[in-house]
């Protein structure tokens, strides 16, 4: 990776390339003129324009973390079957855009051979929106990519088939910052801490401003303290809710703790306005151990929820919509997940989550 400067002139603020340069000719000439679409097979869509023109999309799985080698593979497949046109989706799948339906099967075959299954459309489980984890972030309570790989291996059949009652969208985030979609997903997997930050009293005065640090704590758990004659802080353990915000503003407050970090599982969120309004994801399992490389407890928990949902929900019912219809007690009963004190909200809007009617099923 030797540096090879090409030209001296410095260009700035040009913005991204204009998307128009990257559009398939069929798309370009039918832009804004689409009439309807059909699904030809899981992962294969056909969009029909008012003009009668058709564009075929073949959606393949991607680990999102892609080497340039794989990207070049995608590029050459696009050249071979798609006139060089491809795109990525908002859930990090890759989509090949074809005007010739005869190319669909050969493309799918090559993708399969290279290990990129086709699917993720309609009532399937699409790719998992996820984050950096141990691959790149300082903040992570767990890895992200490894969790995704483990879970999607187990849910693979639901990616290549469309047999669920509705779309099911999963997200992974490696800390409470929730880069990604955790707070509004059908199922979310979230890395969590369960211990207050350790305080590096040696480092702290050098790298952090104490007042900023103190005010970063939403619960007021951080207090000024003098340690070894130096200005530092202390954390009142009972008040800490392990949010990690102090660590974000001050590197001398690391949260990592192999013995206590772990995973929580969340369910029932959604983003679309279809039928019901968008919803936040709600706590299902407060804690599962961090068990790399395969996180068997997490995989089992997610697979179980998917399974119970698939068996019980009605057509067009997203996970959260199903739960709202049958009630949370039923969700806990059918999944066998124990209901604990941690499920009961005690944050800002807690009171509104208490059951304020006698609407009860027995």
């Amino acid at each position: 990776m030797a540096s090879q400067p090409i030209k001296p002139k410095r260009i700035t603020d040009i913005g991204p390339p204009n998307y128009e340069n990257f559009l398939h000719p069929v798309i370009k000439s039918n832009y804004g003129q689409w009439k309807y679409h059909e699904t030809l097979a899981p992962g294969v869509l056909c969009h029909v324009a008012e003009s009668g023109a058709r564009i075929y999309s073949v959606r393949a799985a991607s680990p999102r973390l892609l080497s340039i080698q794989t990207l070049r593979l995608f590029a050459s497949l696009a050249d071979k079957y798609c006139g060089g046109y491809l795109r990525f989706t908002s859930r990090n799948n890759v989509e090949f855009l074809l005007d010739n339906p005869d190319n669909i099967e050969p493309l799918k075959k090559e993708l399969a051979a290279e290990g990129f299954p086709v699917g993720g459309t309609n009532n399937s489980i699409s790719n998992i929106v996820h984050t950096q984890g141990w691959v790149h972030c300082h903040s992570s309570a767990t890895d992200a990519s490894g969790l995704v790989k483990s879970v999607m291996d187990a849910l693979y059949e639901d990616f290549v088939q469309e047999k669920l009652p509705a779309k099911l969208r999963i997200a992974v985030a490696c800390c409470l910052n929730m880069c990604g979609a955790v707070h509004c997903s059908d199922i979310a997997i979230l890395g969590i801490h369960r211990k207050p930050p350790q305080i590096r009293h040696d480092l702290l005065p050098k790298v952090c401003e104490v007042p900023t640090l103190i005010s970063s704590c939403p619960t007021g758990a951080i207090r000024p303290a003098t340690v070894g004659g130096k200005q530092s802080v202390e954390v009142i353990e009972e008040q800490c809710m392990y949010c990690g915000n102090c660590y974000t503003v001050c590197p001398a407050m690391p949260m990592n703790d192999p013995d206590n970090d772990g995973i929580s599982i969340w369910v029932g969120g959604k983003v679309s306005n279809a039928r019901t309004a968008p919803k936040f994801t709600k706590l299902a399992i407060p804690y599962l151990p961090n068990n790399p490389p395969r996180w068997p407890e997490v995989v089992q928990a997610v697979a179980n929820i998917v399974d119970v949902y698939a068996k019980n929900a009605k057509r067009f019912e997203r996970l959260g919509e199903w739960i709202e219809r049958v009630g949370w007690p039923k969700f806990f009963e059918l999944t066998g997940i124990p209901f604990t004190r941690y499920h009961i909200d005690d944050f800002k809007f807690a009171g509104l989550t208490y059951a304020r009617s006698t609407h009860i099923r027995f």
Partner: protein, 398 residues
């Protein structure tokens, strides 16, 4: 070290089995040209063993004249893994809708082969092309090559973040406005705010061309622009009948799932009371050949969503119920200007716009940006009697 001179990756290797494509395989693929990847694998294997990350808080690194676009990252055990001692990511602004030609992809690969790990994320959660891991001294050269190839950096820190959008009119029959163009135009309009962090905190814009919101804008954008329509749903009765004949249970699966139950199916004809329809998309989603959004199209503007840190997650809430498609760019730009002005004046450090609105109250925010209150902005009026009446002086914003 394993026999091949490569680091031992016993745990990670287990992630190369199974049908889902493996990120470990990707890292291994990339090590052909890049010794960085060996150290990345080594450090990652250690994290898997210890259940603990090994990255330090990033310092401030970047390219000349930009305050954003690069996330600094350093190993906390550089002695053991010197090639990832620096391991910064570069956020490259994606093209609208993540459309590429194979040539564009190869150009990016070539640049990144020359200057970084050869690893990418396609794409980051905000939407950027992520170049995953390089050293400080490679930042400027990478940037140079990128701009010469027509690419520029995305946002990070307290800047406007890279806007993103669903593919909209490019391949979707439901697009109510041109989300790709609006996303591009806004990105171009705010190059300065994108590259030189001017704000109390990050500001994200996402453009979805219909209420299905395929880019999750209502949950993950400070400004969410979501397509909708004002007139009646377009309806093709013959196609409805065909769906019924094809086995769709129109009563149960369509009518009974309509949130306002404003549809009537008598076994032969579907009647929609369009005045009651809340444009949820469900019936259209269920029968794409029979129903379509109306012809008077535009977008709803919503404000303020974000992840939970630290006051709890927010969903965006309605700010302007409807703007016609052809007025979107100008209206949104004007609105953004006023929102930023207010945020600039009243926002605390690290306070997102949604949090600021929560703090000062929506009514005061509306006053400040000069919008009239409308009942579409709320799900219900207040249920508490604690009204701050403005009898003292009518202009007092509190």
């Amino acid at each position: 070290m394993a026999d091949n001179g490569k680091p031992k990756t016993e745990l990670l290797d287990q992630l190369e089995t199974g049908p889902w494509p493996s990120f470990v395989t990707e890292i291994k693929k990339a090590r052909e040209g890049s010794p960085v990847c060996d150290d990345l694998l080594g450090q990652l294997e250690l994290s898997y063993q210890e259940k603990k990350g090994h990255w330090k808080h990033g310092g401030i690194v970047g390219v000349l004249g930009y305050g954003g676009g690069v996330i600094g990252r350093y190993s906390d055990i550089p002695e053991q893994f010197p090639n990832v001692a620096h391991f910064h990511t570069i956020r490259v602004n994606q093209p609208s809708g993540w459309f590429y030609t194979s040539d564009a992809i190869r150009t990016l690969c070539d640049i990144w082969e020359r200057h970084g790990s050869g690893l990418t994320n396609m794409h980051g959660s905000t939407g950027d092309i992520i170049f995953l891991g390089t050293r400080t001294n490679e930042l400027e050269p990478t940037f140079k090559e990128l701009t010469e190839a027509g690419f520029d950096l995305g946002g990070s820190g307290s800047s406007m973040r890279t806007p993103s959008c669903c593919l909209g009119q490019a391949r979707c029959e439901w697009a109510c406005y041109d989300s790709m163009k609006l996303c591009y135009d806004l990105t171009m309009a705010y190059q300065d705010e994108l590259h030189r962090p001017p704000f109390p905190y990050k500001f994200k814009i996402k453009c979805a061309a219909c209420p299905n919101d395929c880019v999750a804008s209502i949950a993950r954008a400070d400004l969410s622009i979501i397509g909708t329509w004002k007139d009646d749903i377009q309806q093709d009765d013959a196609a409805v009948a065909a769906y019924a004949a094809g086995g769709l249970n129109i009563q149960k699966d369509v009518c009974d799932r309509c949130p306002t139950r404003c549809m009537d199916w008598d076994g032969a004809t579907l009647t929609i009371n369009n005045r009651e329809c809340v444009r949820c998309m469900h019936c259209i989603n269920a029968m794409p050949k029979a129903l379509a959004p109306g012809k008077e199209r535009g977008a709803t503007i919503l404000i303020g969503s974000k992840a939970p840190i630290v006051q709890g997650a927010l969903l965006s809430s309605v700010l302007i119920p409807f703007i016609p498609a052809d007025e979107l760019l100008e209206t949104v730009k004007e609105l953004i200007g006023r929102v930023w002005e207010f945020w600039d004046e009243y926002g605390k450090n690290r306070e997102r716009i949604g949090e600021l609105i929560q703090r000062v109250g929506m009514a005061n925010f509306l006053d400040a940006i000069g919008l009239d209150p409308a009942p579409e902005m709320i799900s219900a009026p207040r249920d508490n009697p604690y009204v701050f009446f403005q009898t003292k002086s009518e202009s007092n914003g509190n």
